[in-house]
Symmetry: C2
Subunit: 173 residues, 2 copies
DNA sequence: CGCCAATACTTGACATATCAACCATTCACT
DNA sequence: AGTGAATGGTTGATATGTCAAGTATTGGCG
């Protein structure tokens, strides 16, 4: 097997110089594919994957509200445009926002009933999509993959500009 | 170990229902982090990661030209906006485009000397960034990761690459 | 030859992402 | 209190991504 799989996929003529390069390309490419399939699953509901992600976060702590920037730190992908993301969800009446009375700088976000209903209709499709995507991996392989990715992120965070330095304590809202 | 690493990172209270979910989140999140570090490495040269990727593809087949859509298929991330991506690179004089005389529908792209020079200055920084990112993985682990991602994509491709066929319902007004 | 479908892009309209500058509020300290 | 720094979030300019429809060219078929 002179050629790697990724090399064939992107029709690359020269082999990778280092395994890092191949792993990097494989990671980015695989993630992109998964992302597209998940996005296609939520798209019929008029949601982007990021919007779906926000709703999941809010459902996770429902009925407690979550301040804006804490949502940002919990996102799977870094989202600097969190305000406008929330604007769109609020415009669709899927979330509600109120200013915190104890600390008036904060804006507390809650998922609405409509949001909960919408998420409920997506639960099964999302699980099915994910299941289909990971069908080719055994459960042992899936565990290995999780472990490797965890290790990889561990190293990544030590390099710099990480968002979640320390999982901070809960603050009473 | 009641909590998984990812669960801590995104401050998730409830554990994942399936290993697929955890693996999916880990994959997307790790990829996002890697992507940001690579993007930060090419950014000082005024390039996005996608633009860098195009230049790499063109250098790979230099001095032979590559038609537009073939670039798109070789990209790491799917890029529907390939035309405008090339427009920007051409505006910066990093690539050149000419219409193919044998098949006048095609547009052939070549990397310019300036493009080659620019890439040359980025070779070392990119290798260093990648090396730093993968520092926490042994070479055996890196190989395992590549293999797992390859297997995963294998399954992904078999699901179907087509556009979302379901004609969607009307969205929120 | 003449027509039509397929190919290879290109363009326009719109949604979203990104970075920096900004405002309001709170905290720390004198 | 009173000032300055830090925090929490918003906004504006600009870049980029995405989908649908459009143009030009080619290849196939009668």
């Amino acid at each position: 097997m002179p050629e790697s799989k990724i090399q064939q996929e992107i029709s690359q003529r020269k082999p990778f110089e280092t395994a890092f390069q191949e792993a990097g390309v494989a990671l980015l490419r695989t993630s992109d594919q998964l992302q597209r399939r998940l996005a296609a699953t939520v798209e019929p509901c008029g949601l982007t994957l990021q919007q779906y992600n926000v709703l999941r976060i809010l459902r996770g702590s429902h009925p407690e509200a979550v301040p804006t920037l804490e949502i940002a730190t919990r996102m799977i992908e870094q989202a600097p445009g969190i305000t406008r993301l929330l604007d769109r969800l609020e415009a669709k009446r899927l979330i509600e926002r109120v200013r915190c009375s104890r600390d008036r700088r904060r804006v507390l976000c809650t998922i609405s009933t409509a949001g909960l209903d919408l998420l409920a209709t997506l639960d099964r499709p999302m699980l099915e999509t994910l299941g289909a995507c990971f069908e080719s991996l055994s459960s042992a392989q899936t565990r290995d993959l999780i472990q490797l990715l965890d290790d990889l992120r561990e190293g990544l965070y030590s390099i710099g500009f990480h968002r979640n330095p320390t999982p901070k304590e809960e603050r009473n809202p």
